[in-house]
């Protein structure tokens, strides 16, 4: 028996290693290990690249070896949100010397970094008027409108709404808060809350179209609580600051902590709702093999997005808010929840589909969010060793 178990473990180890190799080879080029001798990198930069490469390869190996997607996804996804904030704040200080948005200088020179949440509210006004209603930067690749839109199109084609759990640099805040407690304090949140995000999308698109301003960014974005914000100069900007802080505190920290659900993503984020619509063009979704399902309902309880419902167990279809985090796939004891290639029968080549999805999603995760962690760590070490983060 022991020998059988050891053989099984060894087989799993070898399979995981073989599955990791192709992406490990790809990362060698994309993360920049190939270019490490470049004289523009100092020792800390080189250390950052090496760390980024080996941590990514190790996590990918562990996903295959332990057969756990969500846990190892969160190892990057959650710290990446805090690291992004840290890195972004330092970046802004380095570029501008302050964190304030909407100062006349920034607006006039179009220097405001562009975030993916802006996309749905600018799309229709831009198509109708031919003018972009956000003073986003075009000169710098990083945070530039073109860069972000290209990234969004690419990731949407590959992952659809999976963007929210594999590429969103804000999502880790909520995901982290929702992972702190072992059991939820508030056990049920209304299912119809998922339409809140769509209502927000509808409201901000129509309001932005009428006012030709980015209404969500100006008044409602919770993440302005942890990034650039309007300089508090009068009672209007004070009000804005209070709104951002309250929304961030309750929607991103308190409610996810108490419910173990990503409350802001489910009920408030217009970009999430937009991605659910964009998801139609993506090839992957998650399905339940109804015949193999034991009906334990663990997937319903554990889904951080309230996407799995009683109805899903009957029809095999997961609800529209699904962010393809893979939690339901991981926890199903009967292996009845599977990654599925649209247009094929449920369960068809499910292992191959799963591996393909992991390759694509993990590549996006490590290149976008893993890069944030590396950048933040490099900045911290530089600051500690030289006194300057730049």
């Amino acid at each position: 028996m022991k020998i059988l178990q050891e053989n099984h473990t060894l087989k799993r180890f070898i399979v995981a290693l073989l599955l990791t190799l192709p992406l490990a080879f790809g990362f060698y080029y994309t993360i920049g290990l190939v270019d490490i001798q470049n004289p523009r990198f100092d020792l800390i930069d080189k250390g950052g690249i090496v760390f980024h490469y080996f941590a990514s390869v190790l996590l990918l190996f562990l996903i295959f070896y332990k057969d756990k997607i969500d846990f190892f996804r969160k190892v990057i996804f959650v710290p990446a949100a805090a690291c992004f904030t840290l890195w972004f704040v330092i970046y802004l200080f380095q570029e501008r010397g302050h964190l304030f948005i909407y100062t006349p200088e920034n607006i006039n020179c179009g220097d405001v970094p562009f975030c993916h949440i802006v996309i749905p509210q600018t799309l229709i006004p831009t198509l109708l008027t031919g003018k972009f209603i956000f003073p986003g930067t075009t000169s710098k690749w990083i945070f530039s409108m073109f860069g972000m839109i290209a990234t969004w199109i690419g990731v949407s084609l590959v992952l659809g709404r999976g963007f929210c759990s594999w590429a969103c640099f804000w999502g880790g805040w909520e995901s982290g808060s929702a992972s702190i407690l072992k059991k939820p304090v508030i056990k049920r949140i209304p299912m119809k809350l998922k339409w809140g995000a769509f209502a927000m999308l509808f409201s901000i698109v129509i309001s932005s179209l009428v006012s030709l301003t980015v209404v969500y960014c100006i008044w409602l974005c919770p993440f302005q609580g942890v990034s650039e914000f309007a300089q508090v100069t009068d009672w209007v900007t004070t009000l804005k600051f209070i709104i951002f802080a309250v929304l961030f505190l309750f929607l991103v920290i308190v409610f996810p902590l108490l419910t173990k659900k990503r409350v802001q993503c489910i009920s408030f984020c217009p970009f999430g709702a937009f991605q659910s619509l964009v998801d139609k063009i993506n090839a992957f979704d998650i399905r339940i093999k109804t015949k193999e399902c034991s009906g334990c309902k663990k997937c319903i309880r554990e889904c951080p997005m309230n996407a799995v419902t009683e109805n899903s167990l009957k029809t095999g279809k997961i609800g529209i808010p699904c962010v393809k985090c893979g939690k339901c796939v991981d926890i199903c004891r009967k292996k009845a929840v599977v990654f599925h290639l649209k247009g094929t029968p449920v369960g068809y080549l499910s292992k191959a589909v799963k591996v393909t999805f992991i390759y694509l999603s993990f590549f996006v995760l490590t290149m976008m969010l893993g890069g944030n962690i590396k950048e933040a760590l490099v900045m911290i070490i530089k600051f500690l060793s030289t006194g300057s983060a730049v």
Binding site: K192, W195, G196, F198, A199, M200, F202, S203, I206, S207, L209, V210, V215, W219, W235, V236, L239
Partner: protein
């Protein structure tokens, strides 16, 4: 005069539709998908708009040039923000009524808030909203003066702009096919109502007062 009012209405009607769309769209989408109900709601809404236009047409025609001289942008913002507060508040109340029908306040409200009455009231307030097309019509009437002139001008202006609202007659066609749209519209009433009430209403009002 008729051609002038007609051309003004036709040329600015799309703008009218855009400025009313945040209020009107969720309102029409929030009811049960039924062709008769949609027709009734759009009719009530347009009646409200007509009533608003005519009252203003008469008032502006009566006051004429004297208002024209004394009106400044601050007055426009003041009137606009008061209308926004009322419209936003009504939208929030209507949204609350859908979301929490068992609340005591909503039970009382539901006696008074019916889709037909709602549409009429929203028509009235969006009609007198101080938007550029409305100001264009108002300034023309102010220049000329006269009750009859104001009445007829705004009547023609109303007919011309109403053409742009006709697509709303087909909302039941969409809500029948996309079931969640009704729920989304009901949530949107709360969000848009709150936005109009606070950001376009109270904040603009306080900016004028302070």
């Amino acid at each position: 005069m008729i051609i002038e009012a007609l051309l003004l209405g036709l040329s600015t009607g799309a703008y009218c539709l855009f400025s009313c769309a945040p209020v009107v769209t969720p309102l029409f989408l929030s009811v049960e998908p039924n062709r008769k109900k949609s027709f009734k709601m759009v009719s009530f809404f347009l009646s409200g708009r007509l009533a608003g236009y005519l009252v203003f047409g008469v008032a502006i025609g009566l006051a004429g040039v004297s208002i024209n001289r004394n009106l400044n942008p601050e007055h426009n913002i003041f009137i606009g923000s008061i209308i926004s507060i009322v419209t936003g508040l009504l939208l929030v109340l209507a949204g609350l009524n859908f979301q929490f029908p068992k609340l005591p306040v909503c039970r009382i409200l539901s006696r008074y808030i019916t889709p037909g009455r709602n549409s009429f009231v929203f028509g009235l307030f969006t009609g007198v909203n101080v938007c550029p097309p409305f100001l264009g019509a108002a300034s023309r009437v102010m220049d000329k003066g006269g009750v009859i002139y104001g009445l007829v001008f705004f009547l023609i202006f109303f007919i011309a702009t109403s053409i742009y609202f006709m697509p709303y007659l087909g909302v039941s066609f969409i809500t029948k096919r996309i079931k969640p749209l009704k729920e989304i519209a009901r949530f949107s009433m709360l969000i848009i109502g709150f936005y109009i009430l606070v950001f376009r209403g109270f904040i603009n009002l306080l900016k004028v007062i302070l």
